[in-house]
Protein backbone atom coordinates (compact mmCIF):
# COMPACT_ATOMS: atom_id res chain seq x y z
CA UNK A 1 0.00 0.00 0.00
CA UNK A 2 0.94 3.62 -0.41
CA UNK A 3 -1.32 5.93 1.56
CA UNK A 4 -0.97 9.65 2.15
CA UNK A 5 -3.16 11.49 4.65
CA UNK A 6 -2.87 15.28 4.62
CA UNK A 7 -4.42 17.57 7.25
CA UNK A 8 -4.32 20.70 5.07
CA UNK A 9 -7.34 23.04 4.91
CA UNK A 10 -7.73 24.56 1.45
CA UNK A 11 -11.12 24.42 -0.25
CA UNK A 12 -9.54 24.98 -3.69
CA UNK A 13 -7.24 22.00 -3.32
CA UNK A 14 -8.70 19.48 -0.89
CA UNK A 15 -10.03 16.95 -1.68
CA UNK A 16 -9.80 17.80 -5.42
CA UNK A 17 -7.69 20.55 -6.92
CA UNK A 18 -10.13 23.04 -8.51
CA UNK A 19 -8.84 26.63 -8.42
CA UNK A 20 -10.17 27.27 -11.94
CA UNK A 21 -13.86 26.85 -12.69
CA UNK A 22 -15.95 27.39 -15.85
CA UNK A 23 -14.50 30.83 -16.56
CA UNK A 24 -11.09 29.65 -17.76
CA UNK A 25 -12.29 27.06 -20.33
CA UNK A 26 -14.83 29.57 -21.65
CA UNK A 27 -12.07 32.16 -22.00
CA UNK A 28 -9.67 29.67 -23.61
CA UNK A 29 -12.34 28.59 -26.09
CA UNK A 30 -13.35 32.14 -27.03
CA UNK A 31 -9.69 33.21 -27.19
CA UNK A 32 -8.93 30.31 -29.55
CA UNK A 33 -12.06 30.99 -31.60
CA UNK A 34 -11.18 34.68 -31.99
CA UNK A 35 -7.59 33.76 -32.85
CA UNK A 36 -8.86 31.49 -35.61
CA UNK A 37 -11.28 34.17 -36.85
CA UNK A 38 -8.45 36.70 -37.04
CA UNK A 39 -6.25 34.31 -39.01
CA UNK A 40 -9.05 33.47 -41.46
CA UNK A 41 -10.12 37.08 -41.82
CA UNK A 42 -6.51 38.15 -42.38
CA UNK A 43 -6.11 35.40 -44.98
CA UNK A 44 -9.23 36.57 -46.84
CA UNK A 45 -7.81 40.10 -46.95
CA UNK A 46 -4.32 39.06 -48.06
CA UNK A 47 -5.67 36.70 -50.72
CA UNK A 48 -7.83 39.46 -52.23
CA UNK A 49 -11.12 37.81 -51.32
CA UNK A 50 -12.16 40.97 -49.49
CA UNK A 51 -12.83 42.62 -52.84
CA UNK A 52 -15.65 40.17 -53.55
CA UNK A 53 -19.21 41.09 -52.63
CA UNK A 54 -20.41 39.97 -49.17
CA UNK A 55 -16.99 38.73 -48.06
CA UNK A 56 -17.34 37.54 -44.48
CA UNK A 57 -13.97 39.07 -43.54
CA UNK A 58 -15.74 42.34 -42.77
CA UNK A 59 -18.29 40.81 -40.41
CA UNK A 60 -15.85 38.48 -38.67
CA UNK A 61 -13.83 41.16 -36.80
CA UNK A 62 -16.95 42.83 -35.37
CA UNK A 63 -18.24 39.50 -34.06
CA UNK A 64 -14.71 38.66 -32.83
CA UNK A 65 -14.59 41.91 -30.84
CA UNK A 66 -17.79 40.90 -29.05
CA UNK A 67 -16.56 37.34 -28.45
CA UNK A 68 -13.15 38.33 -27.06
CA UNK A 69 -14.87 40.83 -24.77
CA UNK A 70 -17.08 38.04 -23.42
CA UNK A 71 -13.96 35.92 -22.95
CA UNK A 72 -12.17 38.67 -21.09
CA UNK A 73 -15.23 39.19 -18.90
CA UNK A 74 -15.07 35.49 -17.99
CA UNK A 75 -11.37 35.90 -17.20
CA UNK A 76 -12.15 38.92 -15.03
CA UNK A 77 -14.86 37.01 -13.18
CA UNK A 78 -12.30 34.33 -12.31
CA UNK A 79 -10.03 36.82 -10.55
CA UNK A 80 -10.23 36.73 -6.76
CA UNK A 81 -8.77 40.22 -6.26
CA UNK A 82 -10.76 41.96 -9.00
CA UNK A 83 -10.07 45.59 -8.06
CA UNK A 84 -6.37 44.99 -8.63
CA UNK A 85 -6.77 43.83 -12.24
CA UNK A 86 -5.01 47.01 -13.45
CA UNK A 87 -1.82 45.62 -11.94
CA UNK A 88 -1.51 43.46 -15.07
CA UNK A 89 -0.66 46.58 -17.04
CA UNK A 90 1.85 48.11 -14.67
CA UNK A 91 4.50 45.52 -15.48
CA UNK A 92 5.63 42.97 -18.03
CA UNK A 93 6.78 39.66 -16.58
CA UNK A 94 8.51 37.91 -19.44
CA UNK A 95 8.51 34.48 -17.74
CA UNK A 96 4.74 34.61 -17.20
CA UNK A 97 2.50 33.50 -20.10
CA UNK A 98 -0.41 35.26 -18.39
CA UNK A 99 1.48 38.57 -18.53
CA UNK A 100 2.19 37.97 -22.22
CA UNK A 101 -1.49 37.19 -22.70
CA UNK A 102 -2.61 40.41 -21.03
CA UNK A 103 -0.49 42.47 -23.41
CA UNK A 104 -1.40 40.34 -26.45
CA UNK A 105 -5.09 40.98 -25.72
CA UNK A 106 -4.33 44.69 -25.69
CA UNK A 107 -2.78 44.29 -29.16
CA UNK A 108 -5.73 42.29 -30.49
CA UNK A 109 -8.36 45.00 -29.86
CA UNK A 110 -6.94 47.75 -32.12
CA UNK A 111 -6.17 45.26 -34.90
CA UNK A 112 -9.70 43.85 -34.80
CA UNK A 113 -11.10 47.40 -34.75
CA UNK A 114 -9.01 48.44 -37.77
CA UNK A 115 -10.13 45.30 -39.60
CA UNK A 116 -13.77 45.97 -38.67
CA UNK A 117 -13.83 49.56 -39.94
CA UNK A 118 -12.40 48.65 -43.36
CA UNK A 119 -16.00 48.13 -44.41
CA UNK A 120 -18.61 48.86 -41.79
CA UNK A 121 -22.25 47.78 -42.22
CA UNK A 122 -24.61 50.35 -43.76
CA UNK A 123 -26.78 50.81 -40.68
CA UNK A 124 -23.72 51.68 -38.55
CA UNK A 125 -22.26 53.86 -41.33
CA UNK A 126 -25.40 56.03 -41.33
CA UNK A 127 -25.14 56.64 -37.58
CA UNK A 128 -21.37 57.14 -37.54
CA UNK A 129 -20.37 58.82 -40.84
CA UNK A 130 -16.94 59.80 -39.48
CA UNK A 131 -16.15 56.13 -38.89
CA UNK A 132 -17.21 55.36 -42.44
CA UNK A 133 -14.84 58.10 -43.69
CA UNK A 134 -11.90 56.62 -41.79
CA UNK A 135 -12.77 53.16 -43.10
CA UNK A 136 -13.00 54.37 -46.69
CA UNK A 137 -9.67 56.20 -46.41
CA UNK A 138 -8.05 53.05 -45.03
CA UNK A 139 -9.57 50.66 -47.52
CA UNK A 140 -8.51 52.96 -50.35
CA UNK A 141 -4.86 52.32 -49.52
CA UNK A 142 -3.86 48.86 -50.70
CA UNK A 143 -0.74 48.74 -48.57
CA UNK A 144 -2.65 49.64 -45.40
CA UNK A 145 -5.21 46.91 -46.12
CA UNK A 146 -2.43 44.36 -46.63
CA UNK A 147 -0.76 45.43 -43.38
CA UNK A 148 -4.04 45.06 -41.49
CA UNK A 149 -4.52 41.59 -43.01
CA UNK A 150 -0.99 40.53 -42.08
CA UNK A 151 -1.27 41.98 -38.57
CA UNK A 152 -4.57 40.18 -38.12
CA UNK A 153 -3.02 36.84 -39.07
CA UNK A 154 0.08 37.34 -36.90
CA UNK A 155 -1.69 38.56 -33.78
CA UNK A 156 -4.36 35.85 -34.21
CA UNK A 157 -1.61 33.23 -34.38
CA UNK A 158 0.06 34.58 -31.24
CA UNK A 159 -3.26 34.70 -29.38
CA UNK A 160 -4.09 31.12 -30.37
CA UNK A 161 -0.67 29.84 -29.33
CA UNK A 162 -0.71 31.67 -26.02
CA UNK A 163 -3.95 30.01 -24.86
CA UNK A 164 -2.14 26.66 -24.95
CA UNK A 165 1.19 27.92 -23.62
CA UNK A 166 -0.65 29.37 -20.60
CA UNK A 167 -1.48 25.86 -19.40
CA UNK A 168 1.49 23.88 -20.68
CA UNK A 169 4.06 25.86 -18.71
CA UNK A 170 2.44 24.95 -15.39
CA UNK A 171 4.83 22.14 -14.55
CA UNK A 172 2.85 21.01 -11.50
CA UNK A 173 -0.04 19.67 -13.63
CA UNK A 174 1.21 16.74 -15.74
CA UNK A 175 -1.89 16.61 -17.97
CA UNK A 176 -1.13 20.16 -19.17
CA UNK A 177 2.60 19.70 -19.35
CA UNK A 178 2.86 18.95 -23.04
CA UNK A 179 4.86 21.07 -25.45
CA UNK A 180 2.20 20.30 -28.08
CA UNK A 181 -0.76 21.77 -26.21
CA UNK A 182 -0.34 25.14 -27.91
CA UNK A 183 -0.55 23.51 -31.34
CA UNK A 184 -3.70 21.65 -30.31
CA UNK A 185 -5.35 24.84 -29.05
CA UNK A 186 -4.27 26.83 -32.10
CA UNK A 187 -5.57 24.24 -34.58
CA UNK A 188 -8.72 23.70 -32.51
CA UNK A 189 -9.29 27.47 -32.54
CA UNK A 190 -8.83 27.54 -36.33
CA UNK A 191 -11.21 24.62 -36.71
CA UNK A 192 -13.88 26.25 -34.50
CA UNK A 193 -13.44 29.56 -36.34
CA UNK A 194 -13.79 27.94 -39.77
CA UNK A 195 -16.93 26.21 -38.51
CA UNK A 196 -18.31 29.42 -37.00
CA UNK A 197 -17.74 31.53 -40.12
CA UNK A 198 -19.18 28.70 -42.23
CA UNK A 199 -22.43 29.15 -40.29
CA UNK A 200 -23.02 32.73 -41.41
CA UNK A 201 -20.92 33.09 -44.60
CA UNK A 202 -23.14 34.36 -47.42
CA UNK A 203 -20.94 33.24 -50.30
CA UNK A 204 -21.13 29.62 -51.46
CA UNK A 205 -17.45 29.57 -52.46
CA UNK A 206 -16.47 30.73 -48.95
CA UNK A 207 -18.55 28.00 -47.32
CA UNK A 208 -16.93 25.41 -49.56
CA UNK A 209 -13.43 26.73 -48.82
CA UNK A 210 -14.10 26.86 -45.07
CA UNK A 211 -15.49 23.31 -45.03
CA UNK A 212 -12.39 22.08 -46.87
CA UNK A 213 -10.10 23.98 -44.52
CA UNK A 214 -11.96 22.67 -41.49
CA UNK A 215 -11.49 19.11 -42.72
CA UNK A 216 -7.76 19.76 -42.82
CA UNK A 217 -7.82 21.28 -39.33
CA UNK A 218 -9.82 18.33 -37.95
CA UNK A 219 -7.40 15.78 -39.42
CA UNK A 220 -4.48 17.77 -37.95
CA UNK A 221 -6.26 17.93 -34.59
CA UNK A 222 -6.75 14.15 -34.50
CA UNK A 223 -3.06 13.65 -35.21
CA UNK A 224 -2.04 16.15 -32.52
CA UNK A 225 -4.30 14.48 -29.95
CA UNK A 226 -2.67 11.13 -30.77
CA UNK A 227 0.83 12.64 -30.49
CA UNK A 228 0.07 14.28 -27.14
CA UNK A 229 -1.17 10.98 -25.69
CA UNK A 230 1.83 9.10 -27.11
CA UNK A 231 4.07 11.81 -25.65
CA UNK A 232 2.55 11.31 -22.21
CA UNK A 233 2.76 7.52 -22.42
CA UNK A 234 6.44 7.62 -23.30
CA UNK A 235 7.29 10.15 -20.60
CA UNK A 236 7.56 10.03 -16.80
CA UNK A 237 5.30 8.14 -14.38
CA UNK A 238 3.11 11.13 -13.57
CA UNK A 239 2.56 11.84 -17.25
CA UNK A 240 1.70 8.18 -17.83
CA UNK A 241 -0.97 8.65 -15.17
CA UNK A 242 -2.10 11.85 -16.95
CA UNK A 243 -2.51 9.92 -20.21
CA UNK A 244 -4.59 7.29 -18.41
CA UNK A 245 -7.03 10.03 -17.36
CA UNK A 246 -7.97 10.29 -21.05
CA UNK A 247 -7.52 6.64 -22.03
CA UNK A 248 -9.51 4.84 -19.37
CA UNK A 249 -9.82 7.26 -16.47
CA UNK A 250 -12.57 9.65 -15.37
CA UNK A 251 -12.25 11.82 -18.49
CA UNK A 252 -12.15 8.98 -21.03
CA UNK A 253 -15.89 8.84 -21.84
CA UNK A 254 -16.40 12.56 -22.36
CA UNK A 255 -13.09 12.88 -24.21
CA UNK A 256 -13.59 10.07 -26.72
CA UNK A 257 -17.35 10.48 -27.21
CA UNK A 258 -17.85 14.25 -27.20
CA UNK A 259 -14.43 15.68 -28.09
CA UNK A 260 -12.96 13.12 -30.51
CA UNK A 261 -16.10 11.32 -31.74
CA UNK A 262 -18.83 13.94 -32.02
CA UNK A 263 -16.46 16.93 -32.09
CA UNK A 264 -13.94 15.75 -34.69
CA UNK A 265 -14.58 12.41 -36.45
CA UNK A 266 -18.35 12.67 -37.19
CA UNK A 267 -18.26 16.30 -38.45
CA UNK A 268 -15.17 15.43 -40.49
CA UNK A 269 -17.11 12.73 -42.35
CA UNK A 270 -20.17 14.97 -42.77
CA UNK A 271 -18.02 17.74 -44.24
CA UNK A 272 -16.09 15.32 -46.45
CA UNK A 273 -19.40 14.23 -47.98
CA UNK A 274 -20.45 17.89 -48.31
CA UNK A 275 -17.30 19.08 -50.09
CA UNK A 276 -17.53 16.09 -52.45
CA UNK A 277 -21.13 17.04 -53.28
CA UNK A 278 -22.59 13.85 -51.84
CA UNK A 279 -24.76 15.85 -49.43
CA UNK A 280 -25.63 19.53 -49.03
CA UNK A 281 -23.68 21.79 -46.66
CA UNK A 282 -25.34 21.59 -43.28
CA UNK A 283 -24.95 23.67 -40.11
CA UNK A 284 -24.92 20.46 -38.04
CA UNK A 285 -21.22 19.70 -38.66
CA UNK A 286 -19.96 23.22 -37.79
CA UNK A 287 -22.07 23.26 -34.62
CA UNK A 288 -20.63 19.86 -33.62
CA UNK A 289 -17.09 21.16 -34.23
CA UNK A 290 -17.68 24.23 -32.08
CA UNK A 291 -19.30 22.33 -29.22
CA UNK A 292 -16.47 19.77 -29.42
CA UNK A 293 -13.90 22.58 -29.18
CA UNK A 294 -15.65 24.00 -26.13
CA UNK A 295 -15.81 20.60 -24.42
CA UNK A 296 -12.12 20.03 -25.28
CA UNK A 297 -11.20 23.15 -23.24
CA UNK A 298 -13.36 22.01 -20.32
CA UNK A 299 -11.85 18.50 -20.40
CA UNK A 300 -8.25 19.74 -20.64
CA UNK A 301 -8.65 22.35 -17.88
CA UNK A 302 -10.43 19.89 -15.60
CA UNK A 303 -8.10 16.93 -16.27
CA UNK A 304 -5.05 19.13 -15.73
CA UNK A 305 -6.34 20.16 -12.34
CA UNK A 306 -7.13 16.55 -11.50
CA UNK A 307 -3.61 15.47 -12.36
CA UNK A 308 -0.69 16.21 -10.08
CA UNK A 309 2.53 14.84 -8.70
CA UNK A 310 0.80 13.27 -5.72
CA UNK A 311 -2.28 11.94 -7.52
CA UNK A 312 0.01 10.73 -10.30
CA UNK A 313 1.86 8.51 -7.86
CA UNK A 314 -1.30 6.88 -6.60
CA UNK A 315 -3.20 6.27 -9.81
CA UNK A 316 -0.34 4.16 -11.15
CA UNK A 317 0.05 0.75 -9.47
Amino acid sequence: MHELIITRSNHLIDPIFTPWGWEIPIYLFLGGLVAGMMIISGYFILSGRHQKKDCSCFVVPTVALALISIGMTALFLDLEHKLYVWRLYTTFQWTSPMSWGAWILLLVYPILTLNAILKIPENIAKKLPWLKNIGEKLSGRKFAVKVIGAMSMISGGILGMYTGVLLSTLVARPAWNSSMLWILFLVSGLSAAAAFIHLFAKREDERRLLAKADNGFLIAELMIVALIIIGFLTSSEVQNAAAMLFINGPYAAVFWVFVVGLGMVVPLFIQLFAVNDKIQHTPIAPIMVMVGGLILRFVIVSAGQYSGWFTGTFTTP
Binding site: M1, H2, E3, L4, I5, I6, T7, R8, S9, N10, H11, L12, I13, F17, P19, W20, D78, L79, E80, H81, K82, Y84, V85, R87, L88, T90, T91, Q93, T95, S96, P97, M98, S99, G101, A102, T169, L170, V171, A172, R173, S236, G304, Q305, G308, W309, F310
Partner: protein, 178 residues
Amino acid sequence: MARYGMVIDTKKCVGCQDCVVACKTENQVPHGYSRDWLAYETIGKFPKLNMEIRTERCNHCDNPPCVYCCPTGASHISDGGIVLVEHDKCIGCKACVASCPYDARFVHPEGYVSKCTFCEHRVKEGKDPACVSVCPTHCMYFGDFDDPESEVSKLLQERKYHAIIPEAGTKPHIYYLT
Protein backbone atom coordinates in the same frame (compact mmCIF):
# COMPACT_ATOMS: atom_id res chain seq x y z
CA MET B 1 23.70 36.36 1.26
CA ALA B 2 21.83 33.79 3.33
CA ARG B 3 19.78 30.95 1.87
CA TYR B 4 17.18 30.01 4.43
CA GLY B 5 15.54 26.63 4.64
CA MET B 6 14.33 23.98 7.02
CA VAL B 7 15.37 20.52 8.09
CA ILE B 8 12.71 18.31 9.68
CA ASP B 9 13.57 15.15 11.54
CA THR B 10 10.85 12.65 10.69
CA LYS B 11 12.19 10.30 13.39
CA LYS B 12 11.19 12.85 16.02
CA CYS B 13 7.94 14.24 14.60
CA VAL B 14 4.89 12.80 16.37
CA GLY B 15 2.27 14.68 14.35
CA CYS B 16 1.00 16.76 17.28
CA GLN B 17 0.14 19.72 14.98
CA ASP B 18 1.60 22.29 17.38
CA CYS B 19 3.37 23.80 14.36
CA VAL B 20 0.03 24.22 12.59
CA VAL B 21 -1.58 25.93 15.57
CA ALA B 22 1.47 28.17 16.10
CA CYS B 23 1.40 29.26 12.47
CA LYS B 24 -2.32 30.01 12.52
CA THR B 25 -1.91 32.07 15.68
CA GLU B 26 1.26 33.91 14.67
CA ASN B 27 0.08 34.76 11.16
CA GLN B 28 -3.64 35.10 11.88
CA VAL B 29 -4.43 32.51 9.22
CA PRO B 30 -8.22 32.62 8.64
CA HIS B 31 -10.49 29.79 9.69
CA GLY B 32 -10.63 27.00 7.11
CA TYR B 33 -7.13 27.62 5.70
CA SER B 34 -3.64 26.53 6.63
CA ARG B 35 -0.13 27.60 5.70
CA ASP B 36 1.35 24.39 7.05
CA TRP B 37 -0.07 20.94 7.65
CA LEU B 38 0.79 17.37 8.57
CA ALA B 39 1.32 14.53 6.12
CA TYR B 40 1.13 10.91 7.24
CA GLU B 41 2.60 8.67 4.56
CA THR B 42 2.41 4.90 4.89
CA ILE B 43 4.27 2.60 2.51
CA GLY B 44 4.64 -1.19 2.46
CA LYS B 45 2.62 -4.34 2.95
CA PHE B 46 1.22 -5.44 6.30
CA PRO B 47 2.90 -6.24 8.64
CA LYS B 48 5.95 -4.58 7.10
CA LEU B 49 4.73 -1.01 7.00
CA ASN B 50 6.74 2.18 7.16
CA MET B 51 5.08 5.36 8.29
CA GLU B 52 6.56 8.82 7.93
CA ILE B 53 4.98 11.78 9.68
CA ARG B 54 6.13 15.13 8.44
CA THR B 55 5.10 18.75 8.67
CA GLU B 56 4.78 20.40 5.24
CA ARG B 57 4.52 23.94 3.87
CA CYS B 58 5.81 26.05 0.98
CA ASN B 59 9.25 24.74 0.02
CA HIS B 60 10.64 28.20 -0.83
CA CYS B 61 12.14 26.72 -3.97
CA ASP B 62 15.24 27.95 -5.75
CA ASN B 63 13.44 27.43 -9.04
CA PRO B 64 9.92 28.53 -8.04
CA PRO B 65 7.28 28.06 -10.78
CA CYS B 66 4.88 30.23 -8.77
CA VAL B 67 7.20 33.22 -9.15
CA TYR B 68 7.83 32.61 -12.84
CA CYS B 69 4.14 32.35 -13.76
CA CYS B 70 2.97 35.38 -11.75
CA PRO B 71 1.74 38.01 -14.24
CA THR B 72 2.14 41.00 -11.93
CA GLY B 73 5.34 40.21 -10.03
CA ALA B 74 3.37 39.82 -6.79
CA SER B 75 5.07 36.48 -6.16
CA HIS B 76 8.74 37.13 -5.74
CA ILE B 77 11.93 35.86 -4.13
CA SER B 78 12.85 37.95 -1.13
CA ASP B 79 16.09 38.20 0.83
CA GLY B 80 17.41 34.84 1.95
CA GLY B 81 15.55 33.03 -0.83
CA ILE B 82 12.19 33.34 0.92
CA VAL B 83 9.32 33.23 -1.58
CA LEU B 84 6.69 35.85 -0.73
CA VAL B 85 3.48 37.32 -2.15
CA GLU B 86 2.97 41.08 -2.23
CA HIS B 87 -0.74 41.37 -1.44
CA ASP B 88 -1.27 44.73 -3.16
CA LYS B 89 0.08 43.39 -6.44
CA CYS B 90 -1.81 40.07 -6.43
CA ILE B 91 -4.86 39.95 -8.73
CA GLY B 92 -5.93 36.49 -7.54
CA CYS B 93 -5.54 34.81 -10.95
CA LYS B 94 -4.51 31.57 -9.19
CA ALA B 95 -1.83 30.72 -11.77
CA CYS B 96 0.61 30.31 -8.87
CA VAL B 97 -1.82 28.00 -7.06
CA ALA B 98 -1.97 25.84 -10.20
CA SER B 99 1.79 25.96 -10.72
CA CYS B 100 2.82 24.75 -7.26
CA PRO B 101 3.46 20.99 -7.18
CA TYR B 102 3.23 21.07 -3.37
CA ASP B 103 -0.26 22.65 -3.31
CA ALA B 104 1.09 25.10 -0.75
CA ARG B 105 -0.89 28.21 -1.69
CA PHE B 106 -4.42 29.29 -0.88
CA VAL B 107 -6.63 32.25 -1.72
CA HIS B 108 -7.14 34.41 1.35
CA PRO B 109 -10.77 35.46 1.93
CA GLU B 110 -9.67 39.03 1.12
CA GLY B 111 -8.79 37.91 -2.42
CA TYR B 112 -5.04 37.70 -2.55
CA VAL B 113 -2.98 34.51 -2.53
CA SER B 114 -1.27 33.56 0.71
CA LYS B 115 1.23 30.98 1.89
CA CYS B 116 4.03 30.25 4.35
CA THR B 117 6.50 33.14 4.66
CA PHE B 118 8.96 31.33 6.96
CA CYS B 119 7.63 34.00 9.40
CA GLU B 120 9.89 36.54 7.68
CA HIS B 121 8.99 39.17 10.31
CA ARG B 122 10.43 36.90 13.02
CA VAL B 123 13.46 35.89 10.94
CA LYS B 124 14.36 39.58 10.52
CA GLU B 125 14.46 39.82 14.30
CA GLY B 126 16.79 36.85 14.48
CA LYS B 127 14.08 34.46 15.70
CA ASP B 128 12.99 31.09 14.31
CA PRO B 129 9.66 30.78 12.46
CA ALA B 130 6.73 30.24 14.87
CA CYS B 131 6.31 26.57 13.88
CA VAL B 132 9.97 25.79 14.64
CA SER B 133 9.94 27.67 17.93
CA VAL B 134 7.02 25.71 19.43
CA CYS B 135 7.85 22.16 18.30
CA PRO B 136 7.74 20.07 21.51
CA THR B 137 10.00 17.33 20.13
CA HIS B 138 12.48 19.78 18.54
CA CYS B 139 12.15 18.00 15.23
CA MET B 140 12.28 21.22 13.18
CA TYR B 141 15.41 23.21 12.39
CA PHE B 142 15.59 26.52 10.56
CA GLY B 143 18.78 28.11 9.28
CA ASP B 144 21.09 29.25 6.53
CA PHE B 145 22.18 26.60 4.02
CA ASP B 146 24.84 28.93 2.66
CA ASP B 147 26.64 28.74 6.01
CA PRO B 148 28.42 25.36 6.25
CA GLU B 149 28.64 25.79 10.03
CA SER B 150 24.89 26.25 10.52
CA GLU B 151 22.93 23.49 12.27
CA VAL B 152 20.84 22.79 9.17
CA SER B 153 23.94 22.39 6.96
CA LYS B 154 25.57 20.06 9.48
CA LEU B 155 22.42 17.92 9.79
CA LEU B 156 22.40 17.38 6.02
CA GLN B 157 26.07 16.38 6.17
CA GLU B 158 25.47 13.87 8.96
CA ARG B 159 22.08 12.32 8.20
CA LYS B 160 20.20 10.76 5.30
CA TYR B 161 17.48 13.01 3.98
CA HIS B 162 14.99 13.56 1.17
CA ALA B 163 13.01 16.44 -0.24
CA ILE B 164 9.45 16.25 -1.58
CA ILE B 165 9.16 15.57 -5.32
CA PRO B 166 12.53 17.06 -6.27
CA GLU B 167 11.91 15.53 -9.72
CA ALA B 168 9.53 18.44 -10.39
CA GLY B 169 12.70 20.47 -10.83
CA THR B 170 11.77 23.17 -8.33
CA LYS B 171 14.84 22.75 -6.06
CA PRO B 172 12.91 22.78 -2.77
CA HIS B 173 14.54 24.03 0.43
CA ILE B 174 12.87 21.88 3.03
CA TYR B 175 14.61 18.60 3.77
CA TYR B 176 13.33 15.62 5.73
CA LEU B 177 15.76 13.53 7.77
CA THR B 178 14.99 9.83 7.57
